[in-house]
Each structure stands twice: as C-alpha cells, then as structure tokens.
Subunit: 197 residues, 2 copies
C-alpha cells in the first residue's frame, strides 16, 4: 500500500510542479525551458519526460492540480452558509489561497486571458468550474432576495473571481511590504457595499 516507489515518484512530480509554477509565474510558459524546470527541481531532464508526456501536459496537469485545489477550498468555504456570509467567505478563501499559492496565482493572472495557446481550452474549462461555485452562491442570494435582484449572476461571478485575483496579485507584486489582511479588509468592504440590496 505505502509503496516507497510511488511515494518517491509522487515526490518528484510535486517538486517538478513547484519548480514549474515558480518559473512560469516569473517568465511565462514559453520563456521557461524544460531544462530550467529540471534544474530547479534538482532532477535530470529525462525525469521530467519520465513523469510527464510533454512540457504542455506538465503545465496542463499543473493547472488542473492548482485550480482543483482552489475549487475545493471554495466549496468548503461556502458550505452551509447563508448567501451574504458565503460571499464574504469566498473572498476570504480566495485571498487565503492566493497568499498560500502566490506563484500559482500570478501564473493564473498572466495566462488566464490568453487566446491561441494549446492549453487554453483546459484553462477555460477549469476556470468555469471555479466560477461555478461562486455563481451558485450568487444565484442563491439573488433568488432569496439577499442580494440585489438586478445583479447579473454570470457577470458578477466572473468579476468577483477576476477582481480578487488582480487586486491580490497586484498587491503582492507591487506592494509586498503590506500585509495581505489589508487587501482582504478592502475587498470585503467593496463586496459588502456592492452586495447591498
């Protein structure tokens, strides 16, 4: 069961993910070479190809892994909460996630709105899954009258997702000395005002 081989392999994959996410966040997918990733992970280039079909597949699995985690945290955050509290919980969860997986968030922000890339379809799908959690919450709030009736669910959801991302990453990149708690405060304040019926 606890096979040392598969544990070792999972470890290598994890190290490759970490190396790849950092480098791609800094430089972008195309500017990051497989040799770079291997070197930063402390493995040989061949190991990358033993563990992943190709550079693109490595990136796609990385996206799946990262966004999957985010979606899970979204689901856990809203669980059982009434709409307006759930909305605040979502903002908190998103920022907490960005704080923890800073490089991944930066990568997401940079690659999210690209077109004409082979992995674009994958990213679009995953983005949809994460936003769907937000959309469910917003929809419930609008239906129950807890949120303004004229709120467009699809728009509000994707805006909320994007805004959290951009504000947090901007803060991390351009004003890193500030505590993330301040961003959370500011964003919560904005969301609360906008959510007023």
């Amino acid at each position: 069961m606890t096979d040392g081989r598969s544990r070792r392999r999972e470890d290598t994959r994890q190290r490759l993910f970490v190396a790849a996410v950092e480098l791609i966040a800094e430089q972008g997918f195309s500017a990051t070479t497989v040799d770079d990733i291997a070197a930063r992970a402390g493995v040989a280039k061949g190991t990358v190809y033993y563990n992943f079909e190709s550079k693109t597949v490595l990136f796609e699995e990385l996206l799946r892994h990262g966004i999957g985690l985010l979606t899970a945290e979204f689901r856990a955050a809203v669980d059982g909460l009434p709409p307006r509290e759930a909305l605040a919980a979502l903002v908190r969860a998103e920022l907490e996630y960005i704080r923890r997986y800073r490089a991944f968030a930066q990568l997401l922000l940079s690659e999210m709105w690209r077109t004409n890339r082979e992995w674009q379809q994958t990213l679009r799908l995953l983005r949809g899954e994460a936003i769907e959690v937000i959309a469910e919450t917003v929809r419930a709030g609008v239906d129950s009258g807890d949120l303004p009736a004229d709120l467009d669910v699809r728009t509000a959801s994707s805006a909320l997702f994007g805004v959290g991302l951009v504000v947090a990453v901007d803060w991390l990149v351009f004003q890193p000395e500030r505590p993330i708690a301040d961003v959370q405060e500011a964003l919560l304040g904005i969301v609360r005002r906008v959510a007023q019926t």
Copy 2:
C-alpha cells in the same frame, strides 16, 4: 517638414506595432517570432531590424507608445472636473481605451504582473505614470472630502486601474457578444458605491 520618407517610415513602424500587439496578445512575447510579426505586417524581416534595434526594443517602444496614449487620455478625461466626476470619467476613459485597443489591453493584462523579464523595469515605470493620473484625482477627492477619508490613495488607484483592466478584458475574452456599455455601467455602479462618503 512633412517629409514623405519619414511619413512612410512611420507608417511601417505603425504596421509593425499593430502586428506585434495582436500576436503578442494572443501568444505572449516569447512565443511570438520576428518572422511572424514581419509576415503579419506584410513586410520583410530585414525591415523590422531596419526600424527597430531588436525584438525586445520593439516591444518596449510598443509599451511606451500604448501606455503613453492611455496616460494622455486619462489626463484629457479628468481635465477640470471635480473629483467624483473625474473618477467616473477615468473609468469611462479606461474602458473606451480598452475597447479601441483591445489587443493592447489583453497584452498589458498578461505581461503586467510578470517578474524577471528584461522589459519589466520599463513596464513598471510606465504603469506608474498611468496610475499617477488616477492617484492625483483620488488624492484631490480625499483632501476635499468628496471621497472617503480612510481611502488609501495608492492602493485605491492601482486597484481601480487593475480592476478596470481585468473586468473589461474578461468580458472581451469570455463574453464578447455583450456590449461594452454594460461593463461600463456595472463598473461605474461599483465605483460610485465604493466612493460613497
């Protein structure tokens, strides 16, 4: 003065800018080749190097050109207006700009928060110039009491800039069938609520 030669050259440079901005918006800087840019501009590769020192310099001048235009429109928009109206005018100007230079906005969103790229310093500087115009307006509003006193000028300004960018580009990429006027409406509503004293 109106030298036909320099006008012609300016024309070529312009065509190269347009080709480059479209390709880089779609694929990113590294994935875009000089041959691609030349081909899309309908120009020989040598012409690119006759007009620009290198691929990187072409991109830097492109950034300067594009953000310079945006900054100018910001300045024109706020000219003489009282703070709260100036703020609304800024949002309108930003969205109008994004509508007109869609590809450039997309490019900006993708490259803005990168680190470790040779042109990053240039971009950071230019971003500062554009945001400074917003910051002046916000500062004036806070000083005169037209905007909430507890508003952090630097944060609010960069947030406003980034949010406009992300919401507009998100709309353009994921819901292109919708009229941009809707985004403007939504954003203005949000900004108005947040700006309430």
